[in-house]
Structures are given as structure tokens and as C-alpha cells.
């Protein structure tokens, strides 16, 4: 019986872990290129969920089909937001801390705006796949005679996992094989040098901001597959998980965040199986604090930031 619980935890862990990985990865693209820690990331994600919700309720567009729209819209928003917010930051006394505060302000505005439009209640996203659930594994007579144990996953979650896996592959390919991706990685490693090489740091940074926003939007849509209800106040919890992931994986280290995200998802989901929920939630923070004191550069990061 415990095996079934454990297996369920594992499957859940991979599904949530992939989402966390994506969240961490996009946060780290920003953090690496711009030295900006996006406090509003959770709100971007929720906004992504809401956009797909709106498209679904107004036009009956299936969330999978809304993905390209969300991607493009969020990329443009992020791109514009960069020019609106970031260049001025460089002039402040402590750009890193200021960026955190700045994005905190943005997050407050986004929460308020979403609360105003959608009101405080939690919206259910109503769409379904056929069949609703997939049974991955059946263990016969697990609970006694004739009562089989099953590892069951909602189809929507499997689809989410599929999309996530695809995104992660595309993202890795983008970062390691394409010119822009390589430029972004170069900027993470050495911001000064890249300007000398003749790359326009502003348009590159704006693209990175756009990319991170687009990823957040997609995460929002995918999140609605996994947890089909949207809470305008839920962003902060998501951001917090994102921070845990990027600190675990190393600040400004996209691939580190991918690994840390999946690990964290597994630990969290397995912990929910065996511990009370609040304790399982605290586990994340305890891991975070331990890692910060034992290995402040993160699991795979080098000490890149000062």
C-alpha cells in the first residue's frame, strides 16, 4: 500500500517538478542576464492562467490552443516592461535589492488589477480531456482480495508534463544551440565583455525579459492543467517556490534551476504523502535555509554574483 502512495508521490513529483523547473529556469534567465530577481513572477504566471481562462470562457478556445497566443502576448509585455523599468534601475545605489523591491511593487499592482477584474474568488477552469484519468499501473490485490491498487493520473496532468518536457528541451536547445541563446548565456557569464563584443545589451536584455515573461505565461497555462483553479492571490506562493528553486540551483544558472526544480517537486510531493500538509510546505523553506548556509552558491552554481 505504501508503494502505491510512494509511486503516486513520484508521479506527482515529476509533474510538479517539471513546472517548478520551468519557473526556476525563467527566473534564472532574468536573474543571470539582468541581475533582477522577479518578485512578480508568480503574478505573471497567474496572469497567464487567467488569459487562457478568458480565451476559454469568451471564445471557447481550448487551453492548448491558447498557448501560442499567451506566449506571444507575454513576450511582448515582458519586452516592453523591460524598457519601462529596468534601464533606470542601474542608477540606483543598490540595483539588486532595488530590483526586488521594484518587482514587488509590480506584483502588488498585478494582484490588485487581477482582483479588480476577476474578483477575489477562485475560478475553476472547466475543460476536460477524454479520458479524464489514465491509470499508469495496476497492482493486483494491493488492498486485499479484489481491491487493486492503482497509480492514477489525470490526463490533463500528463499533457502538462508533455508540454513541459517539450518546453524544457526547446529551451535547452535554444540556450545552447542558437545564437541568441548563446548570447544570453554569455551575458550571464560576463555582462561587461558582451558589450565589447558588440552585442546590444539592451535588446538582448529585453529579449531575455520577454522570454522570461513568455515562459511565465506558458507556465500559467500549464499550471491550469495541473491545478484547474485560479486564485488571483496565489502568485506569491508560486514566487516563493521559484526563489527556493533558484537558490537551490544557483542564482543565475538556468540548468541548475531545471535540476533543482525537479528534485524539489519530488521531495515536496513525496513529503505530502507522509507528512501533514503544512509541515510538507515548510520542508521547502527548511531545505532552502539549510542550503543557503551550507552551500550559498547553490547545488550546481558557482559564486557568480558578488
Amino acid at each position: 500500500m505504501n508503494t502505491i502512495l510512494l509511486l503516486n508521490g513520484l508521479v506527482g513529483g515529476v509533474i510538479f517538478g517539471a513546472i517548478y523547473a520551468l519557473i526556476g529556469c525563467s527566473l534564472n534567465v532574468l536573474c543571470g542576464v539582468l541581475r533582477v530577481v522577479n518578485f512578480a513572477h508568480g503574478e505573471f504566471i497567474i496572469a497567464g492562467s487567467f488569459l487562457s481562462y478568458v480565451l476559454l470562457t469568451l471564445f471557447g478556445l481550448h487551453p492548448i490552443l491558447s498557448l501560442p497566443i499567451v506566449t506571444i502576448a507575454f513576450f511582448l509585455i515582458g519586452f516592453g516592461l523591460y524598457y519601462l523599468l529596468i534601464p533606470r534601475l542601474a542608477k540606483s545605489d543598490e540595483p539588486e535589492t532595488s530590483s526586488f523591491l521594484l518587482m514587488f511593487g509590480v506584483s502588488l499592482m498585478m494582484i490588485a488589477a487581477m482582483m479588480w477584474i476577476f474578483e477575489a474568488d477562485i475560478r475553476a477552469v472547466e475543460f476536460s480531456f477524454d479520458p479524464i484519468n489514465v491509470s499508469l499501473l495496476v497492482i493486483q490485490d494491493a488492498y486485499g482480495e479484489g481491491r487493486d491498487g492503482r497509480v492514477i493520473v489525470p490526463t490533463a496532468r500528463l499533457v502538462a508534463l508533455g508540454i513541459n518536457a517539450l518546453l524544457i528541451i526547446v529551451l535547452t536547445y535554444f540556450l545552447y544551440r542558437t545564437l541568441t541563446g548563446k548570447a544570453i548565456r554569455a551575458a550571464i557569464m560576463n555582462r561587461e565583455a558582451i558589450q565589447i563584443v558588440g552585442i546590444n545589451i539592451h535588446s538582448l536584455s529585453a529579449s531575455a525579459f520577454g522570454l522570461a515573461a513568455a515562459l511565465a505565461g506558458i507556465t500559467g497555462v500549464v499550471l491550469a492543467f495541473v491545478v484547474p483553479s485560479i486564485d488571483p492571490n496565489g502568485g506569491q506562493d508560486i514566487s516563493l517556490i521559484g526563489f527556493i528553486i533558484i537558490v537551490l540551483g544557483g542564482l543565475g544558472h538556468p540548468v541548475g534551476a531545471l535540476i533543482a526544480g525537479i528534485l524539489f517537486g519530488l521531495v515536496e510531493q513525496i513529503a505530502t504523502v507522509f507528512l501533514p500538509q503544512a509541515a510538507a510546505q515548510m520542508l521547502g523553506f527548511i531545505i532552502l535555509i539549510t542550503v543557503i548556509f551550507v552551500r550559498p552558491q547553490g547545488l550546481m552554481g558557482r559564486m557568480t554574483l558578488r
Binding site: R88, D93, G105, L108, L240, F243, F285, I289, L305
Partner: protein
């Protein structure tokens, strides 16, 4: 030794009189503030509003010790406030201790928590901010996880009629007074100078013989102490608390905004910023409850982008002769 002889002979006495001018201006402001707060209950004024004004002044002054003087931005500042409310409420409700003892005990608990969190001061910049925020969330979750008989779980505690609002009000007044006096002492002390040096360049201050981690710890403890006291007075005054509101990130946010709007690192700034914004909040924003947080966010964003040193700080930056008057 070659002396160019440009030094004015009475330089130091000039400096002293400049200091006096600054302090007298500052103490005038404090006196006006304290007096008007003192008189409110006697005249049946808006007690709740004045209470929250005093609380925010205390918090903004408190966060200034660490954020303004050492450059550390504790995103989980609310942890100290929250622990103060809880310690007071538990002592009063569960152990039957008098409020007069419970609130100072809350202050001590703030100091203890600050010592517990002191290792986080080794981190810098964004790491510190993230960890501090997480610690506040940990405190919040912990309070709702503890047995209901102690913390009241997720419902919190209700002190009911056990507490006297007016007494809580005057407790807050005293706490605010002590906070402001401490701030003015710090502003002129050598400790304050050392702290500002650390804020501007910790490594250089270290190389100049300043024990950076110890000095910073003093500021951290002062910061925590006043937040916890403010939390304690809040529990006394309102008589009810729950984990969500006691550890709300918005409390940190407002504290930071008020302090920053006035000018972190100056003594007067956080007071000016708080009084102005809390009034605006009362008069204007309450008309638009939905937009309240939106405006809050907008103000943070605008402040960071256009006036990171706040009103007082920018004035001092652009009009150097004002430095003579501003503490």
C-alpha cells in the same frame, strides 16, 4: 610639518552649533507628533487611525536602523512584528501575564529572534532578501502549526475584553517615543557613523578596523526590538490576531515604502514619509478600497525608479545647503 593654514579656528564650534540646529528642528517635530498623539484619546479623536500612525512611524524608524543604516533590506521584517504580537497575546491569554510585562517581553522575544536569524547577515544583497522573506513565511506557518491551546492555530487568538484599548494606545506612544529618541541618538553617535560606512562599503569599513559583523548585529537587534514592541502594542490595542495578518508581507511592504518615501538613512525621512503617506492613505485611498494595493504598488515602483533616496534624501542630494538642517 607643512600646514596650509586654511583651517578655520572655530570649525568645531560651528559644527556643534550646526548639530544643535539639526537636533532642535528634529525635536520640535517629535514633540509636535508626540503631543498630538497624546491628546487624541482625551478629545475622543480617531483612536485607531492615530494608533496605526504611531505604529507605522515606529516600524519605519525601526527598519531604518537596518535598511537605512546598513543597507540590508529585510523582506521578512514582519517576522519580528508578528512574533511580538504572538508573544504578547500568548502571555496575556494563556499565562495570564499583565500587558505591562507582556509587551516588554515581546520586545525581548524580538531580540532573541534577531539573534537566531543573525547568521543570515552573512548573506548579502538579494540572497539576504530572499532568505529573510522565507523566514517570515516559516514563522507564519509555524504559528498555525503549533497546538491550538497555545497559538490558536490558523484561527489565531482573541483577547476579547481582557485588554484596555487606551492603555495599549499609550503603550504604543511610549514605544514610538523611545524609537525616535534611539534614532536621534544613533544619528549622531559613532555607532551610526560606523553603520553608514558599512552600508556604503563593508569591505573598506572592515579594513579600517570596524568589526563589521558585530556593529551590524547591533543595528539588526535594534531593528527587531522595535518591530516586536510595535507588534506587542498592536496585540494589546486590537485584542485579536491571526497568523495571516500578523505575518502579512504587506506589513513589510508598507514599512519599507513609508521609510523609503521619506528617505532611508536619514532620521527624519521615515517619520516624514510615514506621516504623509498614512494621512494620504486615510483621506484618499480609503475611498477606493479596491485600488488601495494597486496604488501602493505604483508608489513603490515610482519611488524606486525616480526617487530611490526618498523625498528627504533627494532634497539633501540636490540642495547641499539643506544638509545643515536635516538629521
Amino acid at each position: 610639518m607643512a600646514k596650509s593654514g586654511t583651517i578655520k579656528p572655530d570649525d568645531f564650534s560651528e559644527e556643534i552649533s550646526a548639530q544643535r540646529l539639526k537636533s532642535s528642528l528634529w525635536y520640535t517635530i517629535i514633540t509636535v507628533l508626540i503631543l498630538s498623539c497624546f491628546l487624541v484619546p482625551l478629545q475622543d479623536g480617531n483612536l485607531s487611525f492615530m494608533f496605526s500612525l504611531m505604529m507605522w512611524v515606529t516600524l519605519a524608524t525601526g527598519i531604518n536602523f537596518i535598511a537605512g543604516f546598513t543597507g540590508y533590506m529585510p523582506f521578512g521584517y514582519v517576522a519580528f512584528y508578528g512574533i511580538g504580537t504572538y508573544v504578547t497575546a500568548i502571555l496575556v491569554k494563556v499565562l495570564g501575564v499583565s500587558e505591562y510585562l507582556a509587551v516588554p517581553a515581546a520586545g525581548l522575544s524580538g531580540i532573541l529572534l534577531a539573534l537566531l536569524f543573525a547568521p543570515t547577515l552573512r548573506l548579502n544583497g538579494i540572497f539576504f532578501a530572499i532568505v529573510s522573506l522565507s523566514l517570515a513565511v516559516v514563522c507564519q506557518r509555524l504559528m498555525s502549526l503549533l497546538p491550538e491551546e497555545i497559538t490558536g492555530g490558523s484561527h489565531g487568538l482573541n483577547l476579547g475584553v481582557a485588554t484596555d484599548r487606551t492603555h495599549g494606545y499609550y503603550a504604543m506612544l511610549i514605544i514610538m517615543f523611545v524609537a525616535l529618541v534611539s534614532a536621534s541618538w544613533l544619528g549622531q553617535s559613532r555607532l551610526g557613523k560606523a553603520l553608514k560606512a558599512i552600508r556604503d562599503d563593508p569591505d573598506a569599513a572592515d579594513a579600517m578596523g570596524i568589526h563589521v559583523s558585530r556593529v551590524r548585529l547591533y543595528a539588526w537587534i535594534m531593528s527587531a526590538f522595535f518591530a516586536a514592541l510595535a507588534g506587542g502594542a498592536q496585540a494589546w490595542f486590537t485584542g485579536a490576531l491571526d497568523p495571516i495578518t500578523a505575518f502579512d508581507v504587506l506589513i513589510t511592504a508598507k514599512t519599507v515604502i513609508y521609510a523609503m518615501a521619506g528617505g532611508l538613512g536619514t532620521i527624519i525621512g521615515p517619520v516624514v514619509g510615514t506621516v504623509t503617506l498614512v494621512w494620504i492613505d486615510e483621506i484618499v485611498w480609503q475611498q477606493f478600497p479596491v485600488l488601495n494595493n494597486f496604488l501602493l504598488g505604483l508608489i513603490i515602483t515610482l519611488l524606486i525608479l525616480f526617487m530611490p533616496r526618498g523625498v528627504v534624501g533627494s532634497l539633501m542630494q540636490h540642495f547641499p545647503h539643506l544638509r545643515k538642517y536635516i538629521m
